[in-house]
Amino acid sequence: MTSPQITLQSVTGVDVELTIAGPGSRSYAFVIDWHIRLLIALGWAFGAVLVFTGGSLTPPVGSGRGYLLAVWAPALLIYFFYHPVLEIAMRGRTPGKRMAGVRVVTREGDIPGAGALLLRNVFRLLDSLPFLYLVGLATVVMTEQHVRVGDLAAGTLLVMDHDSSASSFTSSTAAKGGLTPQALDLIQELLDRWPTLDEHKRTTIARSLLARVEPQLSAEELAKLGALDLRSRLVAKLSPQ
């Protein structure tokens, strides 16, 4: 299934195409953000309790107002204002969205204004009903552009926002051996994912790739190569001539 896209016209005549983030990317970003804000809020509360009570976790008697204002009010503010504040400050991104490779844009592809970002966050109250963001999740799954009610109200979309790393450009230009750009892409992709793949998978894929780009290598020779050798041979394919 291909991801839905929106196409924006530009004065240059070259359209801007934005890939809309699906329920998976959205949920992934949300879960990361939820952990971050929960940890920061709890960290603040825990730290403030320790400072306030001088190392004990029991609230001192008669310290009601100061204790509540110093410990719980900031923790609640962090938890509830994490999304609106960071989305405005980071122009439609949050740490979770950045890690998941998504960002909020308007339907015209622009960076949303503070009003739109606040409005999409006000509707979290509705999207989070009745529990675990069920309303939001249902609308994301059911709508063509995978938007929750807050996005519908604010006129925003969540689009993919992968980092365009310099390696994407250099790998296609500085190779030796007359490899096609597609082959170079595959090698770069494998090297990028190398640390996240398990030993068996990465060596299998690397051998299969090397068998195509270095046909002079026999199957026995390839089988003898270890993970490090395979990797260095692939890196060499991307090295400048």
Binding site: A73, G109, D110, L118, H162, F169, P181, Q182, A183, R212
Partner: protein, 329 residues
């Protein structure tokens, strides 16, 4: 992996090599342009030149290397630059002034009918609550807690001694949070074709009327009125305003004014959310009054009426824009 002919492959590689220097710093240039707020003319010209160049490059790679990493990376950079170039100009001070002086009063004028209808619904349900609890006193159990009922039956209002339980600041914050939540619900639930909004408004009306009837039966309605007088006028008005905004959301879905329901809903939400911002600010004031003045038994009734009416006049001034320098039409 041999889709591209060797000579074409070499040509492409040589072209990409000639362009890679221009693409090397794209990330940092785009970060800088996105972060900066006040771009100079030189920045703008540079961005436009880069936009044109990226557009050219992207059209070439889209044709020759579709679905490649290079195409994805260039498309990503092009989209980011597009967003920067098409970003609307902004001036926070002027925008805020325009919002409070012109835009919110305009929304209020458009919402006049909805405000009247929601206020009428609130008044009718409050009357119904009064009549129901007056006629069937046992119904108070549906809208008040056992502690509240026991207290009133023993001649003690639940608001008495509230300051001994928690400090004013905390009372203000918790009341503020609760009122804002009710207002946001009254607004957001308009998405259920207005029915959610009607439910929230009607329930609040029923509860208010029922509680007043119950306290009246025990000769304490005056005490309750004394408690709510200073903050209640604005607080209840704000809930009705939020309800009117929610009603507009429902109406946008039932009778769309734009080609699609989505567009209609989005326009209604974006317009009425401005009013919601003013409502939230007004509720901050209500929270302070309710936390500091209303529970204070030594604060005289006349002063409460002055504060309540005075704050209501401020609210009307804000809704009509007069408070922010708008001249009468």
């Amino acid at each position: 992996m041999t889709e591209t002919a060797p000579s074409e492959n070499a040509r492409l590689q040589s072209w990409a090599t000639s362009r890679v220097a221009a693409w090397a710093d794209l990330g940092s240039i785009l970060d800088g342009l996105e972060r900066k707020r006040d771009h100079t003319v030189a920045d703008a010209l540079r961005a436009i030149e880069l936009y044109r160049a990226l557009g050219r490059d992207l059209s070439i790679v889209r044709r020759t290397l579709p679905a490649s990493r290079m195409t994805r990376a260039l498309a990503q950079s092009y989209a980011r630059l597009h967003a920067v170039i098409y970003r609307k100009p902004h001036n926070w001070g002027e925008q805020l002034r325009r919002l409070f002086r012109d835009e919110i009063p305009q929304v209020v004028r458009e919402l006049r009918t909805q405000i009247q209808l929601v206020t009428l619904l609130f008044a009718l349900t409050a009357g119904a609550g009064w009549w129901l609890v007056g006629t069937y006193p046992e119904l108070i159990g549906l809208i008040a807690s056992d502690d509240m009922i026991d207290g009133v039956e023993q001649g003690r209002l639940w608001t008495e001694g509230i300051l001994n339980v928690a400090p004013s600041s905390m009372i203000s914050v918790s009341i503020l949070a609760n009122n804002i939540t009710v207002s946001i619900f009254a607004f957001c639930l308009g998405v259920l074709f207005g029915l959610g909004t009607f439910y929230i408004i009607a329930m609040n009306g029923l509860m208010l009327g029922g509680i007043f009837a119950f306290t009246h039966q025990h000769g304490m309605a005056g005490e309750l009125l004394k408690f709510v007088l200073a903050h209640g006028m604005v607080e209840l008005s704000v809930i009705c305003l939020a309800g009117a905004a929610g009603m507009m959301l429902g109406e946008a879905l039932i009778r769309p004014r734009y080609p699609t329901r989505r567009e209609s809903f989005q326009h209604a939400a974006s317009k009425t959310s401005k009013l919601l911002l003013l409502c939230a600010l007004l509720l901050v004031g209500c929270g302070f009054i309710e936390g500091y003045l209303s529970p204070d038994p030594s604060f005289p009734m006349v002063n409460r009426a002055i504060v309540g009416f005075g704050y209501w006049v401020v609210m009307i001034g804000a809704l009509t824009g007069r408070l922010f320098g708008r001249k009468p039409a």
